[in-house]
Symmetry: C2
Subunit: 216 residues, 2 copies
């Protein structure tokens, strides 16, 4: 299904298409043209058509896209017709917040376990999960067929923990630690670097301020 040649920029835009199409579907919209989708999503219609052409196009020009069909096809491309089994490493504030967020499950991302190195947290219940010691990860990953590890631990520990998890059989990382992992090239990593994102906002705020030259 998936084509390796497709750029990460295109792939980054797919979840947003998926989100808008899901909302259109829920609103009872049957068909939409790239022009209408363009206005809604504030990207050019030509970009939409180019992006979709990476996957065969999906629709007949002039008739617009069938919303339900497009939603399902993009879902399949994104692997959302499959179930993923996740563990969260780190049961601090962020790890707990992620464990408490139920929307991921609706998309087939099942949190199966949460681990921490702090004995104070062992046994703590977060929804259906019980915090376990890091030493329990190896057998847990193997027994539960864990394919994705969520790293919500400090950067000082993340690289080493990731290396171990690769050995245990984890196939992908959702990394919140503020560092780059050093895992083999066939192990995808998606970084969520919150500080970097906030710093980028600071730049844009700063640059906007210089542009507007407001002295309120």
């Amino acid at each position: 299904m998936a084509d390796k040649e497709i750029s990460q920029a295109v792939i980054s835009r797919l979840p947003r298409y998926f989100r808008y199409l899901g909302e259109l579907k829920d609103d009872g919209v049957d068909r939409i043209s790239s022009q209408e989708l363009s206005v809604l999503m504030q990207v050019t219609a030509s970009q939409i058509r180019q992006d979709f052409n990476n996957f065969g196009g999906f629709g007949q020009q002039g008739y617009g896209y069938n919303v339900q069909y497009l939603y399902e096809e993009i879902g399949k491309i994104l692997g959302l017709d499959q179930t993923h089994h996740l563990i969260i490493v780190g049961a601090g504030n962020l790890g707990q917040a992620l464990a408490n967020y139920m929307n991921f499950e609706r998309r087939g991302f099942l949190f199966e376990g949460i681990f921490d190195q702090n004995p104070v947290l062992y046994g703590k219940q977060i929804r259906h999960l019980t915090v376990q010691p890091m030493e329990a990860m190896e057998s847990f990953v193997k027994e539960h067929n864990i394919d994705i590890a969520v790293l919500a631990i400090p950067k000082t520990a993340a690289v080493e923990v990731a290396d171990k998890l690769v050995k245990y059989g984890v196939k992908a990382f959702w990394n919140f630690a503020h560092c780059d992992l050093n895992v083999p090239g066939d192990i995808p990593v998606e970084n969520v670097h919150l500080s970097d994102s906030l710093i980028k906002l600071s730049y844009n705020l700063n640059s906007m301020g210089n542009k507007v030259k407001e002295d309120v």
Copy 2:
């Protein structure tokens, strides 16, 4: 200082340079060539030089870059020599996790208040912050010169709340709600769409699986 013509792709890379240079500085490294930085960061030296040329170049070819100087200059470009005043809207798991994260303060991002619409949470203490009702936001934003609002609320409320906050004087949004805001063009928004990020990981995992054709 900041130049409006610089692409968001370049700006997205600046925080990562800043992070690596901070680590080099902390490790006592005085000078680094674009070649060495390239190996460390796993980007091409030519990309580094191109990125830096957007800001005048920073260094003399052959001598490498002065780490401390480069770190400070990029920090200034990113607006990190300034202090920002933030509120968090939404005191659920994510809002609380963000309020508890102290690294932002070290970079000059000061959390001044946290708000929620759930009366059960009013008065709840999260570090130095006390959860206040949403109705208190308007006067708070004005009195405390809040420039950045962090939206950690459901998407059903985010667009409306953002519109209000713009009227109250907020100048930028760090948006965790799973929707696009509809604020004026001079108000920068940095989205952290966790679901989109996890879905992108799912795509890459899926596409990797197809490539490797593993049947473990």
